[in-house]
């Protein structure tokens, strides 16, 4: 008897491992997603080792050597109008956008998953929660974020909070949808009849089965969050000078677009690559996690 249970557990574990490996294998077959993963990995490396990779202090000014073009001696991406090294600012900016993006998505997921689980599982709460979600949906995203920042004040922390609040409604809807279908499954019925608590059913059994769309959502959302952080900083609502935030760099550089175009193009390309990477990886994950699709 005990042996049989043990082998069962082993089989389940093996099956789980196989699912992960299969997913990863499928993602790796998608070449675009691989490109995305490489870009993300590069950004993570840049963010983690920023002080080592950066050739200069990102906020040290050198007014004599300002607006140097790309491939200048000692500054391969040139310098900005204050003589700060653009490469070092890009590297430190990677750190900021990853941290803000990650924080915003995590907070958004916590809020969205909680609301989605509660709404999907308890019929009585569904009406109220979904109306709140609808209300949040009725604001255009960037306006909602601007409103929240207007109330909280301008800072990167507040940008993260604003973007996370803006992520809550879509996440809640996705989770609720999955919960609604999963909770009708026989094994949930079985758990209920065995007397499992609601919390246990939600956390241990429904949530893991609803993970696929959440992972895809989170990945895609990272791209959006990074882009929104840059947009808000571009508008002057996020990072305050001299923080080397990519959006803020573009906003500062645009006054010099005619004489030093690299001040807008370099951070622009950085933002574009990262957002692109998160989107294609999200796409790849969605394809890989979809049980109905079979990619060759």
């Amino acid at each position: 008897m005990t042996n049989a249970v043990l082998t069962d557990v082993k089989i389940v574990k093996k099956k789980k491992e196989k699912v992960y490996i299969n997913t990863i294998k499928r993602v790796l077959k998608n070449k675009l997603a691989v490109v995305g993963i490489i870009i993300i990995l590069l950004q993570v490396i840049m963010a983690v080792f920023a002080p080592v990779i950066a050739t200069h202090n990102p906020s040290t000014q050198n007014l004599v050597a300002s607006e140097l073009p790309v491939f200048s001696e000692g500054h391969w991406l040139g310098t900005d109008n204050y003589g700060r090294d653009v490469w070092s600012r890009i590297v430190h900016g990677a750190r900021i956008s990853l941290i803000v993006g990650f924080t915003a998505v995590t907070l958004g997921l916590i809020g969205g998953i909680t609301l989605g689980l509660l709404g999907g599982y308890y019929k009585k709460l569904d009406g109220i929660i979904m109306r709140i979600v609808d209300l949040l949906f009725s604001f255009p995203g960037i306006l909602l974020a601007m409103l929240i920042i207007a109330i909280l004040g301008t800072s990167l922390v507040n940008v993260a909070i604003a973007i996370s609040i803006w992520s809550i409604p879509s996440c809640a809807r996705i989770v609720r949808g999955s919960v609604l279908s999963i909770k009708e499954k026989e094994y949930i019925m079985a758990l209920k009849s065995l007397g499992a608590s609601d919390l246990r059913i939600m956390i241990r059994h429904i949530l893991p089965n609803a993970m696929a769309p959440i992972i895809v959502f989170a990945t895609m959302r990272m791209g959006t969050a990074i882009l929104s952080t840059a947009s808000l900083s571009y508008l002057g609502l996020g990072a305050q000078p001299p923080t080397p935030e990519w959006g803020a760099m573009i906003s500062q550089g645009q006054d010099y677009m005619w004489t030093s175009p690299h001040l807008t193009i370099v951070p622009g390309i950085a933002i574009m690559l990262v957002v692109f990477a998160f989107n294609v990886v999200g796409d790849g994950l969605r394809d890989a996690l979809d049980p109905n699709m079979d990619i060759q």
Binding site: N30, K31, L32, V35, S59, T60, Q61, L63, S66, N81, Y82, T154, G236, Q240, P241, P242, Q252, D255, Y256, M257, W258, T259, P261, H262, I265, I269, M272, F276
Partner: protein
């Protein structure tokens, strides 16, 4: 999937290529050289629209550009001599300290046919200072007690106390004379009527204002027949329009665009030392800022020469609070400030622990304010201070500064009357704490000097008083003057003759085509 990858790579490559092509601006288009260029529309572009077109109701630089051409004042500042000269007035005399008898020019008519006379002057000034009008610049005539019409062309103004800069006040844009008939019949804010060289034609809100030459102008009919004041929100777009000949005239050229403008060969750039001042100010209501040693430490940490070198020649370096183009300036003040000495600053910071508590550096996010904030922040950090920048848009910034919610900030003052009293009184007299004295500065000795500079009639005596007040501010590091402005304009090469004032105002009446 593969196909997509190539598309993406191609897209990136095209972006990079576009970036590399750099300056490929189109060749400047010359106007077709037709015989009478003055008949063509002459267009000036500004980044924002006018607020209103009545000198009584408006108080902003964009509106002033237009009202300056439609209305006229009794006196005007001669940009070449920096002296005040009669315009609509013929002459004036002071029978006593509190009385100004002004003779007016005869035979001048408003655009609507109403004769210009003493009644019109009395009507305009009474309306401007009437509390019921709530005119934004009613303060210009605050010292006026009563206005009497002596005869058709003579007006007598009695002041409550001797008022030194009175002629400067009467030459202010907002002290222009309006047609009483028109003011009673219509809203001059939308449909202006004055005595000026140009008549109002139409105003399309948010787009353009059109003026036409006043063929009956008393001082010579202007050569340009049609003026258009166009709104172009983005300055770089306006510069492109200047390049292609859609716009003929721009002012307030931003420092970061100077290199681009100088590379264009169909325009002439004119620069003139101006009256505007840009300065770092302390919030004098904060305890730490009241410590003279703290202010000295900040002043010695700010390398003003390095900053001015970043302005591409668009700033004049002087320690004087009353700028070189402003009445009351004295050369002895130019180098009287605390010199840049980062080692001295470091020593003071270390000795007194100034680096322990962060300084909130408030800044407006426009013009050169951000540039000043970032450079000064880096310089202060080098000296050991801890500085946090908070930037906000202009209107919010003004409110925040007025409420005194900052440690240090940058302010500017364009000084339309070019008089030192008009700089020191609104910005630093304790009467104005909570309104225009955003530095929250309050010093009874200084207050007394400023009041004296306003109530003295003798101009030489006023100069001496202003000099004393100026030196007092510099010695105590009340503010750290960053630079004095330079007035800049760019004019299409086919035209000549724009008159530029050190106050930043300009006048198109004498413009002619080449």
């Amino acid at each position: 999937m593969k196909k997509h990858l190539w598309l993406v790579l191609l897209f990136i490559a095209s972006l990079v290529l576009a970036a590399c092509s750099g300056e490929s601006a189109s060749a400047p288009k010359n106007s077709d050289g037709s015989s009478n260029i003055s008949d063509k529309t002459f267009t000036y572009a500004s980044t924002s629209d006018a607020v209103g077109l009545s000198p009584i109701g408006m108080n902003d630089a964009v509106s002033a550009n237009i009202t300056e051409h439609v209305y006229e004042q009794l006196f005007t500042l001669n940009p070449d001599t920096s002296e005040f000269e009669p315009l609509l007035a013929e002459s004036y005399e002071n029978p006593d300290e509190n009385t100004w008898v002004i003779k007016l020019k005869e035979g001048i008519k408003f655009h609507d046919g109403t004769p210009f006379n003493a009644e019109a002057v009395k009507y305009t000034f009474d309306k401007l200072r009437d509390p019921a009008t709530a005119a934004p610049r009613a303060s210009l005539l605050e010292p006026v007690d009563v206005i009497n019409v002596l005869d058709e062309n003579t007006v007598e103004i009695k002041t409550k106390y001797p008022y030194g800069p009175f002629i400067a006040a009467l030459s202010h844009t907002n002290a222009a004379i309006v047609s009483p008939t028109a003011d009673k019949a219509q809203d001059l804010m939308k449909d202006p009527v004055g005595t000026g060289p140009y008549k109002f034609v139409s105003w399309t809100q948010g787009d353009k204002i059109e003026l036409e030459a006043n063929e009956e102008y008393w001082n010579g009919v202007p050569e340009l027949k049609n003026l258009v004041f166009k709104v172009v929100p983005e300055i770089s777009t306006a510069i492109s329009m200047l390049q292609t000949g859609e716009v003929q005239f721009l002012d307030n050229l931003p420092t970061e665009q100077i290199k681009r403008l100088e590379s264009m060969d169909n325009i002439n750039i004119e620069k003139k030392d101006g009256t505007a001042i840009y300065y770092l100010t302390f919030n004098h209501s904060r305890e730490r800022n009241q410590d003279p040693e703290f202010r000295k430490a900040v002043a010695s940490a700010v390398d003003r020469d390095a900053f001015v070198s970043k302005l591409n020649g668009l700033g004049v370096r002087s320690d004087s609070v009353i700028g070189p183009q402003v009445f009351g300036h004295d050369e002895s003040a130019d180098k009287a400030g605390t010199p840049y000495d980062v080692e001295a600053a470091k020593a003071l910071v270390e000795k007194n622990g100034y680096g322990d508590e962060p300084i909130k550096l408030l800044t407006a996010n426009r013009d050169n304010f951000i540039l000043m904030a970032e450079i000064v922040q880096a310089q202060l950090t080098e000296a050991g201070f801890k500085v946090e920048i908070e930037s906000m848009e202009w209107a919010t910034f003004l409110d925040t500064a007025r409420a005194g919610e900052y440690d240090i900030t940058f302010m500017s003052w364009s000084n339309v009357t070019a008089d030192g009293s008009e700089m020191l009184y609104p910005n630093f007299h304790s009467d104005n704490v909570g309104s225009s004295n955003r530095a929250q500065y309050s010093n009874p000795v200084f207050d007394e000097l400023v009041v004296k500079s306003r109530t003295t009639i003798d101009q030489e005596e006023r100069k001496a008083i202003l000099k004393e007040a100026n030196h007092m501010m510099i010695e105590e590091n009340v503010v750290v003057p960053m630079y004095h402005g330079i007035v800049t304009t760019a004019l299409d090469k086919n035209y000549t003759g724009v008159q530029i004032n050190p106050t930043g105002k300009w006048y198109l009446k004498n413009v002619t085509g080449k």
